[in-house]
């Protein structure tokens, strides 16, 4: 359900974009999904196929780039991949680190047929 509403949001934005690129045929859309975005990627893929079927977006392919969570340490500025939710700074041991990547839910690009 949630994933379906994301798909319609994406397609609405592509409809808008299409107005600015008259005559262009969009063949693929690239989404960027962070691991903290609260989105199930399989669900999203499945929902995408269900929604585009029998519409003018039927031939649009979907590519998803999954973005891992990264943290930044306010004490020593170290940036690190927070694997298995381990958010403590590996360099200096600071526990209160800040999310810098992994919350994305973005349309990165669309590919256009020439």
């Amino acid at each position: 359900m949630h994933e379906l509403s994301i798909v319609s949001s994406v397609l609405d934005q592509l409809d808008e974009l299409k107005k600015q690129h008259e005559g262009a045929v969009f063949s693929k859309v690239g989404l960027r999904v962070g691991e903290l975005a609260g989105v199930d990627v399989d669900c999203l893929r499945f929902g995408f196929e269900a929604v585009v079927k029998d519409t003018h977006w039927e031939r649009l392919a979907l590519e998803i780039e999954q973005v891992p969570r990264r943290q930044r340490c306010p004490a020593c500025s170290e940036e690190f991949r927070a694997e298995n939710w381990a958010t403590t700074c590996p360099k200096c041991g600071e526990t209160e680190t800040v999310v810098v990547a992994g919350q994305e839910l973005e349309i990165a690009y669309v590919e256009v047929e020439e």
Binding site: A24, L31, L36, A37, A86, L105, I107, A108, E111
Partner: protein, 224 residues
């Protein structure tokens, strides 16, 4: 083949409305909280207890989301504060548009605190900004200690975790310390209050609300 770089957030429409809502809340100095949990964790129960204890001079208003029924609004209405049910008709989260629509005929200048009870779901509400100052995630002791690890997003985005139904701790195989440390693992610095319908934690919770409201009124707390 050529590529158009788009670089746009997906929930655009929602974010636009959430921004407008936030602007209104700021203009009227309203503290807005958005409570999220699985179904049955005890959100409505906590709110009933909150309203029972609430100083009647505080102008509290509530919006409560449900897939189908009006039950929660009925439960909450008995305390004399304005309550509206938002029936989502199957949608598993509240979005900013629903909040905007249900606030349309309420005089915002007469509200100090707006409490939003989201639809019971730990995943979908995460991505929908409602213009709130704080998300609050509730986890009851009849669920698993590993929920913060399974659904990290909502724990990352919440200022406060309410660990509810602690009166049942003696009867369930739930290790509160493990649950709390899991929550802190995904969100270092998350505040935690333990509550139950027997009154546990209510003083601390009411104080939390009181302090946040004071900060909004003084202009110290502004959400962006």
């Amino acid at each position: 083949m050529s590529q158009i770089v788009v670089e746009k957030k997906v929930l655009n429409e929602n974010q636009k409305i959430a921004l407008e809502l936030r602007e209104k809340f700021r203009a009227h100095k309203i503290l807005v909280i958005n409570i999220v949990s699985s179904p049955g964790s005890g959100k409505t129960t906590l709110l009933e207890q909150t309203l029972e204890r609430m100083d009647k001079s505080k102008r509290v208003a509530l919006l409560t989301g449900d897939l189908q029924t009006e039950n929660d609004a009925r439960r909450l209405a008995q305390w004399g504060f304005p309550v509206k049910q938002i029936i989502t008709g199957g949608t598993c989260h509240l979005d900013a548009k629903m909040i905007e629509r249900h606030l349309a005929d309420w005089p915002l200048e007469n509200i100090d605190v707006l409490i939003i009870e989201n639809v019971g779901n730990l995943v979908c509400p995460t991505g929908y900004d409602l213009g709130e100052h704080f998300k609050i995630v509730m986890l009851s002791v009849t669920e698993g200690e590993d929920k913060p690890l399974k659904y990290p997003s909502i724990f990352v985005k919440s200022e406060l975790m309410i660990l509810s139904k602690v009166d049942l701790l003696p009867y369930v195989p739930f290790d509160a310390e493990v649950a709390k440390s899991n929550a802190r693992m995904v969100h270092p610095g998350i505040e935690i209050i333990e509550t139950s319908n027997k009154g546990d934690g209510m003083e601390q919770w009411m104080k939390w609300l009181e302090e946040k409201l004071a900060a909004v009124k003084s202009g110290e707390l502004i959400s962006i």
